[in-house]
Amino acid sequence: MHNKETLIQWLLATVALSAIAVLALIIIFIFKEGSPVIARLGLAKFITGTKWSPTRGMFGILPMILGSVWVTLGALLIGVPMGLATAIFLAEMAPPGASRILKFAIQLLAGIPSVVFGFIGLVILVPFIRQWIGGPGFSVLAAAIVLGIMILPTIVSVCYDVFKAVPEAYREGMLALGATRWQTIKMVVLPAAKSGIIAAVILGMGRAIGETMAVIMVAGNATKIPVSPLEPVRTLTSNIALEMGYAIGEHREALFATGIVLFIIIALLNTLARIVARSEKV
């Protein structure tokens, strides 16, 4: 009996290790495939090079790095205020019944596949920008809006949970002192939820940087550094997805190297999220 239990415990531990095994395999395979080209070109030249021209053997991904950064920042600029306002409304202002239904609707928004988001952006947003704002329509702006909407559910649901975790007594104390609801939210709820909100923002950032299909369809994918939000842009993820289908040899390696850079950015964000989570506990 006892032996059987020990055996089961070890079997479970082995199964549980599969997650870390997958992670290790991902790292090993992508680094193995992508690092030779970085070694050959030099890391600095790879990430600061401004020319991406596979046919001429030029692999500089600075435009894509900046592209990912711009698009992500833009998405945060749209998604965070909207998400925060929605979460505050749902957690602090709406009647509980309405709040439950609305929250459910926002969860459904999270379920819509990224290709569909991208497609709606392609047929509605891109022509709209072209006609009313300017430029070709395929742009940083279009990508930022689509991504901003896509990260909304993440921001809303994380912030909502954080607000709900703020003890009711805090609010009652403020309200008893004669503060209005908004003052209470501003002076008690938001400060108490600060690190949770930061965590939500980091999570949304990870989503935005990693998103691929939606961005491809609306960003225009030009490999130059955009100087205005109305210009087309290519992100790290789109760079991989666009050319994987036909790339061979060094070109393909360079795409995996792009993957390495993306992976490292995500790893840094994860670490940041962990630090924030830890600081909250203290």
Partner: protein, 274 residues
């Protein structure tokens, strides 16, 4: 004072309304555009001329096969991992590593899973572009979701149940299988369904591992095309916008049904707890 309060409430109500409006608009738009083309023959026929005409039957089969297999692989691994993390964590370092692994995996973008699946399953394991490669890649991708939701569901099982079971002379494993998992089952099912919803809509991880063949897969080693991949190719290459809309409608309806069922199960749980 009261003025600003009212204004801010109004503003936040509007922003929430806008968020909901976006959802309604997306679903409504796809519905209106996609409904005319959505016929029984569209669902049951094979595509012709790259999908310009004909139906989407092979893509439906491909989606069901890929997602189904991914769940069959990931669900047991995920649930057992959650069991290990919640019920067997006497040692300190092992669960920490496991948790680090699942959390990190959860943050990895699907395109990276696609790259990895291509290198590892398609090339290294020599499975080619196939149902199997796609399903294995997807299963790795949904594993963290299943672990996290199962863990939550298992932690919600009252300790008193475990104590009673132990006091009746059950071993830990007997307690897990006969008391803990049955109580956590609805919560675990919700998590699995949410993971399925995510897998169905996935494109980037699938397109480089399962390929995009339009033919019905005869074996698990044949390439196949899922609904989102088919939709992406139709829309991006401008093959047929009409069929793209109808494909998107099928995809969205599928996901909505699964997600609504999942949340309904979850809500029933919450109500029972009260």
């Amino acid at each position: 004072m009261k003025m600003t309060d009212r204004r801010i409430t109004l503003l936040f109500t509007c922003i929430t309304g806008l968020t909901i409006l976006i959802l309604v608009f997306i679903i409504g738009f796809i519905m209106v555009k996609g409904l005319p083309g959505l016929t029984l023959s569209f669902l049951l026929e094979s595509p012709k001329e790259m999908g310009r005409t004909g139906g989407i039957f092979p893509a439906i089969v491909g989606t069901v096969l890929l997602t189904g297999m991914a769940v069959v692989i990931a669900a047991p691994v995920g649930v057992l991992t959650a069991v290990y993390l919640t019920e067997y964590t006497r040692d300190t370092w092992l669960p920490k590593i496991v948790r680090f692994g699942t959390e990190s995996l959860a943050g990895i973008p699907s395109i990276i899973f696609g790259l990895f699946g291509f290198l590892f399953f398609v090339i290294y394991m020599d499975l080619g572009w196939s149902v199997l490669s796609g399903a294995l890649t997807l299963s790795a991708m949904i594993l963290p979701t299943i672990v996290r939701t199962s863990e939550e569901a298992i932690r919600a099982v009252p300790d008193a149940y475990r104590e009673v079971s132990f006091a009746l002379g059950s071993t830990r494993w007997q307690t897990v299988t006969s008391v803990v998992l049955p109580s956590a089952k609805p919560g675990i099912m919700t998590g699995v369904m949410l993971a399925v919803g995510r897998a169905i809509g996935e494109t980037a991880a699938v397109i480089f591992t399962a390929g995009s063949s339009l033919r019905l897969p005869g074996t698990l080693l044949d390439s196949t095309r899922t609904l989102p991949v088919h939709f992406y190719i139709l829309a991006r290459e401008g093959i047929s916008l009409e069929n793209a809309y109808s494909t998107a409608l099928v995809l969205i309806l599928l996901i909505l049904v699964i997600n609504i069922t999942a949340y309904a199960v979850m809500n029933r749980l919450a109500n029972k707890g009260r």
